[in-house]
């Protein structure tokens, strides 16, 4: 090649790039009526009985259904069950199922599917539900449209465990007698939900199509959904800005980008749809280690942390400062507890009284991106202001799990879902029987108090709401005084979406409840 040709070629290439050809002219618009949603990370699979991480729940919540749904106040609404009855002694729950419901493969849905799903499949695979099924004595189907749960003892939160993520109903005819985890049907999930699985191009997108035979007349209101896998947070925000995305679910956009996206035309932001989860962020304090054994040091940490500033700076004003172990959206939350305003003098006095000698405490941030890192840096600064020596430790998700599983930490950030009821999502972090290595979600701090154990135990086995409230109010008082962990923020995960989409969030589990009821105004 001659040098001249080189130059020609080079300039031709750059010219071709810079000529500003509106190449979009070649592309045709995305089919009407399809919603484009980002999902992060890519779900490992969509079989909800086996995989329960957030992204899997959001996608598969369109494919599978539960017996009930819940409104923002956590009152039960009909799902696959149209009505339900609770006996006087709170031991028998009878559900009447919707007639005429079919699976995506056309086979009829019946009470046998429910009994099989709960009694056999989920009991085997679903750790969170398994813990609740301990209270269940028997599950039977007297006829094709009725399911009866008999309990061993009254179980306070029972009516709250029927949403799709906790108790997805799966097809017996596909899973009965197979190895649930390796059944090839897991790659082509079959449910009763408003959308059918169409295709999954790994690393790129998952496509769901409208279920024409859906049992709710007139639903779904859209033709289908594309879930796009975009691993980088800045690129996700860019994809919305460039008009390629319709919905950015909570947690897919870094908080410092939210304001920028919110300001775009045709854009709405909502923090609704997380009431059932009540994401509660706190710092584990390892009650077994050195200075943290002393309640005064733990209280000093609460006074030292400027949680209001954390909310405003790290979380850009989203969320609420937590008052204690119960999220505001969790049943029986009480405000009648000791308050911990930001008070450096009080923190220093408590540390002096406890005889803290400047031992270094290791702090483990949550490795979930930029916002969490800044959050941890703020905490370190707050603690060093009152004289507590802190060193930050860097890990990835695997390392974070490992350290918490083995109690190898002093201070560690986490956030947990409360699932609407203290017996489901709060007790696990503070009762003695939940002190077990090998899980980052149980009692990792090692706090143990027989009185608190008893209150939680009685609260779970009590049917009367009035009595439950009394027990839990007392438990909150004790816990907030003894500071087993440092409660920080009730997190809010804003969902960003286009203004022409209506009724997107319509239950306590928000986007995880499927997009059946969402409507898109034709532009």
């Amino acid at each position: 090649m001659h040098r001249r040709d080189f130059i020609k070629f080079a300039s031709a290439t750059t010219g071709w790039l810079a000529a500003g050809q509106p190449w979009t002219a070649f592309a045709q618009g995305v089919t009407n009526g399809m919603l484009n949603v980002t999902v992060n990370p890519e779900p490992p699979g969509l079989m909800l009985a086996i995989i329960q991480n957030g992204p899997a729940q959001m996608v598969a919540g369109n494919i599978y259904e539960g017996l009930l749904r819940y409104d923002a106040e956590l009152n039960p609404l009909p799902g696959l069950a149209t009505s339900w009855k609770i006996s006087e002694d709170s031991l028998t729950y009878t559900f009447n199922l919707k007639p005429g419901v079919t699976w995506h493969d056309g086979k009829p849905f019946s009470a046998d599917d429910v009994v099989f799903s709960v009694d056999k499949l989920l009991r085997e695979t679903h750790a969170r539900l398994r813990a609740s099924l301990v209270a269940v004595d028997s599950i039977t189907a007297p006829d094709a449209n009725t399911v009866v749960f008999k309990l061993k003892y009254p179980f306070g939160p029972f009516i709250g465990i029927f949403e799709v993520g906790t108790m997805p109903i799966l097809p017996k005819h596909i899973y009965d007698g197979t190895d649930y985890r390796t059944n090839p049907a897991n790659n082509t999930p079959i449910g009763t939900g408003p959308f059918k699985f169409k295709e999954w191009v790994k690393g790129s997108y998952i496509r769901l199509d409208k279920n024409e035979a859906y049992h709710e007349p007139g639903l779904p209101g859209i033709d289908g959904i594309y879930f796009h896998v975009i691993p980088d947070a800045a690129s996700r925000a860019g994809a919305y800005e460039a008009g390629k995305m319709d919905i950015m679910p909570g947690g897919t956009v870094e908080y410092f980008d939210i304001a920028r996206l919110k300001a775009l035309p045709n854009t709405e932001v909502t923090t609704k749809g997380w009431e059932f989860f009540g994401p509660h962020c706190f710092m584990w304090l390892n009650n077994r280690n050195g200075p943290l054994k002393d309640v005064r040091v733990r209280q000093a940490i609460m006074y030292a942390l400027d949680r209001e500033a954390m909310k405003n700076v790290a979380w850009y004003g989203y969320g609420k400062v937590a008052t204690g172990p119960f999220n505001t959206s969790t049943r029986y939350h009480s405000d009648d507890v000791t308050k911990y305003p930001h008070d450096k003098a009080k923190a220093k006095a408590l540390l002096a009284e406890a005889g803290y000698k400047g031992e270094t405490l290791r702090l483990l941030p949550l490795p979930y991106g930029e916002t969490w890192q800044r959050f941890a840096e703020m905490a370190r600064q707050n603690l060093s202001e009152v004289g507590i020596k802190v060193e930050l430790q860097a890990t990835d998700v695997g390392g974070w799990n490992e350290k918490l599983n083995n109690w190898d930490y002093d201070l560690a950030f986490t956030y947990l879902y409360q699932y609407g009821d203290p017996a489901l999502g709060v007790a696990r972090n503070y009762t003695t029987q939940n002190i077990q290595k090998g899980s980052p979600w149980n009692n990792v701090c090692g706090y143990s108090n027989p009185k608190v154990d008893e209150l939680f135990e009685r609260g779970a086995k009590e049917a009367s709401s009035v009595k439950r409230r009394e027990l839990y109010v007392e438990a909150q008082k004790i816990l907030v005084d003894e500071v087993p962990v440092a409660w920080l923020i009730e997190l809010e995960f804003p969902t960003i979406y286009r203004s022409n989409i209506t009724n997107l969030v319509n239950s306590a589990i928000g986007l995880n409840d499927g997009f059946a009821r969402a409507k898109v105004a034709k532009a």
Binding site: P22, Q28, P44
Partner: protein, 324 residues
């Protein structure tokens, strides 16, 4: 014949190296804290000891490590890379799905960077000391020194968000309905930003290296002889100088091609390009041992292969070099 012998011997050595790589990686991965069962239980936001134990049993992680290694090697010899723990699908098919996208991206970037880099370097050296030379070396330095992900994000910001000329993520328009030609154009459009981003860095290296190498050769006696004989200037630069200056470039290109099979983690992540680099990075974070080992093994095998190819190319570029 000589060449065949050489290739056979090098392949033998390569296989031994691969075996060593598999064993070392096997232990290296397991030395990282956490295992796939813990990560998956952690993701579910709830889990009891039974849940994690079930997963470990299912993945075969409850067996002694040496037994696990033995089983793994046994499978590898049969060319079976096992199952991904997390996705419950064969590793070989997961890799096969991602390789085309990676090759398209890195191959395009490779050709682009090599052609542009050598062209710019050659031009710059033939005009050494002029403003053209200064301009090219400055630009090359700039792209060499700028972090790749920053260039990537800026490219998205300018060309995708502000100007809306080019798509900023993915390999093709999802849900687009195209003719065959339309589809090819669509993929080409999606390829521009990630390929150019990736190419700029390598282009800078090639340009700087070509320039240095050519200036060095230009001072040699045989070039003076050619000038004295009255060979036209263009021919001197092209035939005498460039060809002799290309050897270090070939070395570098060989290394780059080897790296390219491993994908480009940063570029693939920023542009949501469904390539093997991302697959590897995600497998690492999720401690999906089988998948990670599979990707390592595959990329290592490719590097071994390309090294052999590079050595053969040497002899073509410069017949004086012998394969030993």
């Amino acid at each position: 014949m000589n060449r065949l012998k050489f290739v056979a011997r090098r392949l033998g050595q390569g296989l031994a190296a691969l075996l060593l790589i598999v064993v070392v990686n096997f232990f290296l991965i397991r030395a990282a804290p956490g295992d796939p069962a813990a990560v998956m239980a952690g993701e579910a936001g709830a889990g009891d000891a039974k849940f994690v134990a079930q997963l470990r049993e299912q993945f075969g992680l409850d067996k002694p490590v040496l037994v696990q290694l033995g089983l793994y090697l046994e499978n590898v010899v049969r060319l079976d890379l096992g199952q991904s723990y997390r996705q419950q699908r064969p590793v070989a098919s997961l890799i096969a799905e991602r390789v085309p996208a990676t090759l398209l991206l890195t191959g395009t970037a490779f050709v682009l960077s090599l052609v542009m880099g050598v062209a710019l370097g050659a031009w710059s050296s033939s005009r050494a000391g002029t403003w053209v030379d200064s301009l090219i070396t400055t630009v090359a330095l700039l792209f060499y020194a700028t972090p790749l992900f920053w260039v990537a994000l800026m490219a998205v910001l300018v060309f995708s968000i502000s100007l809306d000329w080019l798509p900023g993520f993915g390999l093709a328009t999802v849900g687009g309905q195209f003719s065959a030609l339309g589809q090819a154009l669509d993929v080409a459009k999606h390829l521009v930003l990630p390929a150019v981003t990736l190419a700029l860095f390598y282009m800078a290296i090639y340009a700087r290296m070509t320039r240095t190498s050519m200036l060095e050769v230009a001072r040699m006696d045989f070039v003076k002889t050619a000038r004295a004989k009255g060979v036209p200037r263009g021919r001197i630069w092209r035939v005498h100088v460039l060809r002799n200056a290309l050897l270090p470039i070939v070395t570098l290109a060989g290394i780059q091609v080897g790296q390219m099979v491993g994908g480009a983690i940063l570029t693939e992540t920023v542009f949501a390009w469904p390539g093997i680099g991302r697959l590897m990075f995600e497998a690492l974070l999720q401690r999906d041992y089988n998948l990670l080992l599979g990707v390592f093994l595959f990329t290592a095998a490719m590097v071994v292969l390309f090294n052999i190819v590079t050595d053969v190319v040497y002899t073509i570029v410069d017949p004086r070099i012998e394969l030993t």
